[in-house]
C-alpha cells in the first residue's frame, strides 16, 4: 500500500517571553520600553572589556515560577552558556544563553483542540539575554539601538506536538494567559515582549517520520502566527505533491503580501560554538526557594475555569471568558462575594462592562466602575426599583461618572413606574390613540401585544415595569 495522499502538519513553537523585571538580566540598566535609543546601556550590556555580568535574582525566580506553572522539572543544577555569533545588535560577539543545562525541562500545557483537551509537551524553558534592535532605513546603513540588549528573556520550546494552525494559536494563547496570570510577562506581542518562531513540516497522515522542517519568523500577533502557518503548510503540501523537495530554511512572514518568503541575510551557516559561560558561576536553586516560588503561584486559568463552572454554575463559555485574564476573574469574584448572583453578574461583565472597556481601550484593572457598583445596580433591578432596560443606561452612567447607581436613578428620575393607576391611565391613552391596532388584536392578532408594550415603554422612556404593562394591557385589550 502506498503512502496516504492526505498530509498533516507537524508544528513546534519557540516562544520568547520578556520577563517583567525592572532591571536587565546582568546589569542595573532599566528595561523600560520606548525610551530614546541607547539611553539604557552600560559597560556590562555593551560588552566592554573587563565588565562582568551578575544574574538578576528575579529573572531566575520568574523562570522557575513559569516552569512550575507549566509542569516542568526544575533543574537542581543549571548554568549559562555562550552562543557565539557576530551581529551588530550583539555587542559582546556572543549571547549569554543556556545550552545543555536549562533551568526547566519536560513540562506541558493543556489546550482545547476541537473540544478535547490536548497536552502540548514542553522540551525546555531557559533564560537568556535579548539582543539590541536593528533598524533598516534603506540605503547602505543599518542603525542599532542597544536598549534591549541584556533584557531578560525566557525561551519556551515546545515539542512538535501541534497539528494545525488552530492548535498553534490555542497553545500561544494559553501560554500568554498563564504568563500573565503568574505575572512574569505582559504578553504584549506588538511591543515584542512575546515573540514566536515556528518550526513546521508536513508528512503523509499517520506517518511516524518527520518531513524537512522550515523555520518561520516575524509573526507579531496571534492572527499572523495562524495565517503564516496556514500559508506555509499549504505551500509545503503542494510542493510535496508536485514531487519537489522541501528546503530546510528560515522564512519570514510578510503580513502585507500574506506569504512567507525565504530570509536573505549575509550570515554564514550557524556555528554557535557553545561553551559554558566562564563569567557566571553555576546555579543550584535551593529546594526551599523553589517551594516558596511554587507557593506564590496563583490559581491557574484551567483550574479557575473549572471552579467557575462548578461553584457558580456558569456555562463553559462564560467561565472561559471570565478566566481569560486574572483581573477580570477577580472582578467577577469580588462582585459575587459582595452578593451578586453569578449568572447576571457574568452577563453584565461580558456585555456592558467589556463593551465600555473595549471602547475606551482600557483593561479591567483601569475600570472606573468597581464590582460594588454592579452589585448595587443588580439589587436595584431585583427590588424592582429600576427596569432592566433603564439599568443599561444607569450602568453606563455609573461607568462614566463614577456615581453610585441610586444617586443616578434619583438625579435622572429613572425610577421604575410600578404605580398601577398611573400605568393604567397611560395604557388607556395608548389604546385610545391606536384604535386600528387594538381592533386587530381583539380580532386575534395577539402578536400586536409587543407593539403596545413598545408604545407604553416609549411613553415612559423605558421606565415602566414590564411585567405590569403586560398584565394591564392583556386585561384592557380583552374588555369591550
Amino acid at each position: 500500500m502506498g503512502e496516504s495522499d492526505i498530509y498533516e502538519a507537524v508544528i513546534g513553537l519557540e516562544v520568547h517571553a520578556q520577563l517583567l523585571t525592572d532591571s536587565k538580566i546582568f546589569c542595573g540598566c532599566s528595561t523600560k520600553f520606548g525610551l530614546p535609543p541607547n539611553s539604557q546601556t552600560c559597560p556590562v550590556c555593551t560588552g566592554m572589556p573587563g565588565s562582568l555580568p551578575v544574574l538578576n535574582r528575579k529573572a531566575l525566580e520568574f523562570t522557575i515560577k513559569t516552569g512550575l506553572a507549566m509542569n516542568c522539572i526544575i533543574a537542581g543544577f543549571s548554568r549559562f552558556a555562550r552562543k557565539n555569533y557576530f551581529y551588530p545588535d550583539l555587542p559582546k560577539g556572543y549571547q549569554i544563553s543556556q545550552y545543555e543545562l536549562p533551568v526547566c525541562e519536560h513540562g506541558y500545557v493543556e489546550i482545547n483542540a476541537g473540544g478535547k483537551v490536548k497536552k502540548i509537551g514542553l522540551t525546555r524553558i531557559h533564560i537568556e539575554e535579548d539582543a539590541g534592535k536593528n533598524i533598516h532605513e534603506g540605503g547602505p546603513y543599518s542603525l542599532v539601538d542597544l536598549n534591549r540588549a541584556g533584557v531578560p528573556l525566557m525561551e519556551i520550546v515546545s515539542e512538535p506536538d501541534m497539528r494545525s494552525p488552530e492548535e498553534a494559536g490555542a497553545y500561544m494563547r494559553k501560554l500568554r494567559t498563564i504568563l500573565r496570570y503568574i505575572g512574569v510577562c505582559d504578553g504584549n506581542m506588538e511591543q515584542g515582549s512575546l515573540r514566536c518562531d515556528a518550526n513546521v513540516s508536513v508528512r503523509p497522515e499517520g506517518s511516524g517520520a518527520f518531513g524537512t522542517k522550515v523555520e518561520l519568523k516575524n509573526m507579531n500577533s496571534f492572527k499572523f502566527v495562524e495565517k503564516a502557518l496556514e500559508y506555509e503548510i499549504k505551500r509545503q503540501i503542494s510542493a510535496v505533491k508536485k514531487g519537489e523537495r522541501i528546503i530546510q530554511e528560515t522564512r519570514l512572514w510578510d503580513s502585507a503580501a500574506g506569504v512567507t518568503q525565504p530570509m536573505r541575510t549575509k550570515e554564514e551557516a550557524h556555528d554557535y560554538r557553545y561553551f559554558p559561560e566562564p563569567d557566571l558561576v553555576p546555579f543550584m536553586p535551593a529546594e526551599e526557594w523553589v517551594r516558596e516560588i511554587g507557593a506564590s503561584i496563583p490559581e491557574l486559568p484551567d483550574a479557575r475555569r473549572a471552579r467557575f463552572v462548578q461553584a457558580y454554575g456558569l456555562p463553559e463559555y462564560d467561565a472561559d471568558l471570565l478566566t481569560s485574564e486574572r483581573p477580570l476573574a477577580e472582578w467577577f469574584e469580588e462582585a459575587v462575594r459582595l452578593g451578586a448572583q453569578p449568572k447576571p453578574a457574568s452577563n453584565w461583565i461580558m456585555g456592558e462592562l467589556m463593551r465600555l472597556l473595549n471602547e475606551d481601550g482600557i483593561s479591567v484593572e483601569a475600570s472606573p466602575l468597581a464590582p460594588a457598583g454592579l452589585v448595587e445596580l443588580l439589587s436595584l433591578i431585583d427590588a424592582g426599583t429600576i427596569s432592566g432596560k433603564i439599568a443599561k443606561t444607569v450602568f453606563e452612567e455609573m461607568y462614566r461618572s463614577r456615581k453610585p447607581a441610586s444617586a443616578i436613578v434619583k438625579e435622572k428620575g429613572l425610577l421604575q413606574i410600578s404605580d398601577e393607576s398611573e400605568l393604567s391611565s397611560l395604557i388607556d391613552q395608548v389604546i385610545g390613540a391606536n384604535p386600528n391596532e387594538a381592533g386587530r388584536y381583539r380580532g386575534g392578532e395577539e402578536k400586536l401585544l409587543g407593539f403596545f408594550v413598545g408604545q407604553v415603554m416609549k411613553a415612559t422612556k423605558g421606565k415602566a415595569n414590564p411585567g405590569m404593562i403586560n398584565k394591564l394591557l392583556k386585561e384592557k385589550l380583552k374588555k369591550d
Binding site: 542595573g28 532599566s30 559597560p43 538578576n56 535574582r57 546603513y141 542597544l146 536573505r264 557566571l280
Partner: protein, 94 residues
C-alpha cells in the same frame, strides 16, 4: 591536526582576516593545543566530577534594582559613525 581550512573557517566566523603566514602559525599552534588535550585525556578521571567552573562557588546573584545608565554620548563614545543616538553600521539585510 588542524588544517588551514579549519583555521580559515574559524577566522571567518570571528571576522578575522589572516595572512598566509598567520594561517600557518595558528594551525601549528592550535594543533599543539589539541595534542596537549589528547595527552590530558590519558588521565584516569573516572572518579572526578565534571568541572563547570574553576571557582567552587554557586548562586551569585543581584537583586532586581536599577542603576543609572551611561549618558548616550558616552555610550556612543567608541562608535566610529553614530547617527541620531544610534550606532550606524554597514547594512545588515541584503
Amino acid at each position: 591536526m588542524i588544517e588551514s581550512a579549519d583555521v580559515l573557517k574559524i577566522a571567518g566566523l570571528s571576522r578575522l582576516a589572516l595572512t598566509e603566514e598567520e594561517v600557518k602559525l595558528y594551525s601549528n599552534q592550535l594543533s599543539a593545543i589539541l595534542q596537549h588535550i589528547e595527552k590530558l585525556k590519558e588521565l584516569d578521571t573516572r572518579d572526578v566530577g565534571p568541572t563547570s567552573h574553576v571557582l567552587d562557588i554557586r548562586n551569585v546573584m543581584r537583586e532586581d534594582l536599577t542603576a543609572p545608565s551611561l549618558p548616550v554620548d558616552d555610550a556612543l563614545g567608541n562608535c566610529p559613525d553614530p547617527k541620531g543616538g544610534f550606532y550606524r553600521v554597514p547594512r545588515i539585510i541584503e
